[in-house]
């Protein structure tokens, strides 16, 4: 065997692989195994039932909306935190991580209280005829809340490393602020934004705790897929629960693959040739 300078490879690799196998692969395998215990026909019937489909629809559409919102707002937040110095900047910076630290159920209850028709936000909004709590809008709010840190935290370091001379070069070449933003800054942030978007979207698809308090959970309108899997579980229908969960798992894999592919494309200029 080739001699290595850095010690501990067999031990470190062994521990890591065992860890990954026990913590990550085993539960997923059990899930697939459980779902596979259904025959193909039963499996298909469960995952393509009207109620399941309605839940996919509401989950994916709300996650998309939340992600688009986070893309815009998270990018602006990262921009402000990196580019400007103002009193309280460090506090805002620390607050960004709060959704990570807060138990999601607490977030859900807090958001529900705020957005219920007698809440601080819900009251004025209901006067305008906008209902948030117990509607898909509420789901979007909860999803945005729990996934915003992903975008901010992936974009922030890249933005910090961005050489100000690039923007100055654009200015000396006569480019408008808009051309510099769309032609220089955005393409350079694209890989980080993609990573952030995919994490934010995946998290929104899988979010449970924060949503169930605010969503109202009406089948066919505000019932998310994760909740449907949970309901099946409560009914001791483990295979059906696993079948629905396997759809979410598959979606997550596809998401990861697509994002990796897009990131590789966005980063192709870094390839040396």
């Amino acid at each position: 065997m080739r001699r290595r300078v850095l010690p501990g490879l067999p031990l470190a690799l062994g521990i890591t692989l065992v860890y990954v196998a026990i913590i990550v692969v085993l539960p997923l395998a059990a899930l697939v195994f459980k779902a596979a215990s259904l025959g193909p026909e039963d499996y298909w019937r469960i995952v393509s039932s009207d109620r399941a489909f309605a839940s996919y629809r509401v989950t994916v559409l709300c996650a998309l909306a939340a992600t688009v919102f986070n893309l815009v707002f998270g990018l602006s937040l990262a921009w402000v935190l990196v580019r400007y110095r103002f009193p309280g900047r460090r506090l805002v910076d620390a607050l960004v991580d709060l959704p990570f630290a807060l138990p999601t159920a607490v977030a859900g209850i807090a958001l529900t209280t705020l957005f219920a028709t007698n809440g601080w936000f819900g009251g004025p909004l209901s006067l305008l005829g906008i209902k948030v709590a117990y509607t898909p809008l509420g789901i979007i709010v909860a999803m945005s809340f729990t996934s915003i840190p992903f975008i901010v935290r992936t974009v922030q370091p890249v933005l910090e490393e961005l050489d100000p001379a690039l923007e100055e070069a654009g200015q000396t070449l006569g480019a408008s602020d808009l051309s510099i933003f769309t032609g220089v800054i955005l393409p350079l942030l694209a890989p980080a934004l993609l990573a952030g978007v995919s994490l934010s979207f995946s998290r929104s698809l899988g979010e449970f705790g924060a949503i169930i308090f605010i969503a109202g959970n009406q089948p066919f309108s505000t019932e998310i897929t994760a909740l449907l899997a949970f309901i099946r579980l409560e009914e001791y229908d483990y295979p059906a629960s696993a079948a629905i969960a396997s759809v979410m798992l598959l979606t997550a894999f596809v998401m990861l693959a697509v994002t990796n592919f897009m990131q590789a494309r966005a980063l192709r200029y870094t390839a040396r040739g």
Binding site: D163, L166, Q171, A175, S179, G183, V184, Y269
Partner: protein, 340 residues
């Protein structure tokens, strides 16, 4: 395009970076702003570009007051020390960027033609489709120059353009930049802290210290008649000996040197290591050799004068003396200045 700076001032939060600098740059001239770090040279360049606003004074491009013209309308080509090429664009796209975003609409064919011309000018014909990460530092800097020239700037500004490159690449690029300048005749202002680069490249050198111009003139003027001890020291190795100035003479260890125009009192004389001859006996300042350093083309001798002041000088490789030997320093072309 003639550039004129009148009493330009720039202050950063706590300190004054540029104190009232006035400077005239003739159309088609190649001028170097030379100074140590913190001398304000880059700040001056950035004010000319419009990347910083002047806090006082005015900058004229020809007869036009350009002080408040925003950078994107000022019509300057700027080359950054670390190239600042757009990493996600190919070499060709980098050069085309300025033409694409310009208010003057050009057809894609016209842009492609101009890009090809510029690539020829900077001798990078085959690299159009490479990304900046795939070419060498010297090539990147040439792309940066092509990109700056693509928008037909009125003035070309370069900020330490060769600072990040290897010594031999720098020398080649320097000669090449001079050639491009002579071909295009564009008014060019560049910043450097490397006196060799400034003297090699520029028609005129402006030497800055602590935000003020200390001397400006042709390379010959600043080399032969340094205005003060700072310029003398900054332009190259210099020895410094404390001296007493009395009646137009500077006395060091009892030896008199010419010091016309320097007031009586404490003073100093400065001289280059090449302007010293060692004599075993005779006239000059008594000294003792401390160490001899060998170099490919000479020997550098470190000596101490009778009064304990260090002197370094260069001799032929055949210099036969060594550590501990005593003799006399015969100094040519000494320059006397008041004590610092």
């Amino acid at each position: 395009m003639k550039i004129r700076l009148t009493n330009v001032v720039k202050e950063f939060q706590t300190f004054r970076a540029v104190h009232g600098v006035s400077l005239d740059i003739e159309s088609g001239e190649l001028v170097a702003l030379l100074g140590p770090s913190g001398s304000g040279k880059t700040t001056i360049l950035r004010m000319v570009a419009g990347l910083e606003y002047a806090d006082g004074g005015a900058i004229y491009f020809g007869e036009e007051n350009a002080t408040d013209i925003p950078v994107r309308e000022r019509g300057v080509g700027f080359v950054f020390q670390h190239y600042a090429l757009f990493p996600h664009m190919t070499v060709g796209e980098n050069i085309a960027f300025g033409m694409k975003v310009s208010k003057v609409k050009r057809s894609p064919e016209a842009i492609a033609k101009r890009v090809a011309e510029l690539l020829d000018l900077v001798q990078l014909g085959g690299l159009k489709d490479r990304f900046p990460g795939q070419i060498s530092g010297g090539q990147r800097q040439r792309v940066a120059l092509a990109r700056a020239l693509a928008v037909d700037p009125r003035v070309l500004l370069l900020d330490e353009p060769f600072g990040a490159l290897d010594a031999n690449v720098r020398r080649d690029l320097r000669r090449w930049l001079r050639k491009i300048h002579d071909e295009l005749g564009i008014t060019t202002l560049f910043v450097t802290h490397d006196q060799e680069e400034a003297l090699d490249l520029a028609d005129r050198v402006v030497i800055l210290n602590k935000g003020k111009i200390v001397q400006e003139g042709t390379p010959e003027t600043v080399c032969r008649n340094p205005a003060d001890a700072f310029v003398m020291n900054f332009l190259g190795d210099a020895n410094r000996l404390d001296a007493d100035i009395r009646g137009g003479k500077a006395y060091v260890d009892g030896v008199a040197f010419e010091a016309g125009g320097v007031a009586d009192g404490g003073g100093q004389i400065l001289f280059r290591p090449a302007d010293v001859t060692w004599h075993e006996e005779g006239q000059g300042i008594a000294a003792k050799i401390v160490r001899v350093i060998d170099r490919p083309d000479s020997r550098r001798v470190l000596a101490l004068t009778g009064s304990g002041q260090p002197v370094e000088f260069d001799t032929a490789p055949e210099f036969p003396y060594g550590k501990g030997e005593e003799g006399f320093l015969d100094i040519r072309r000494p320059r006397a200045y008041p004590a610092a």
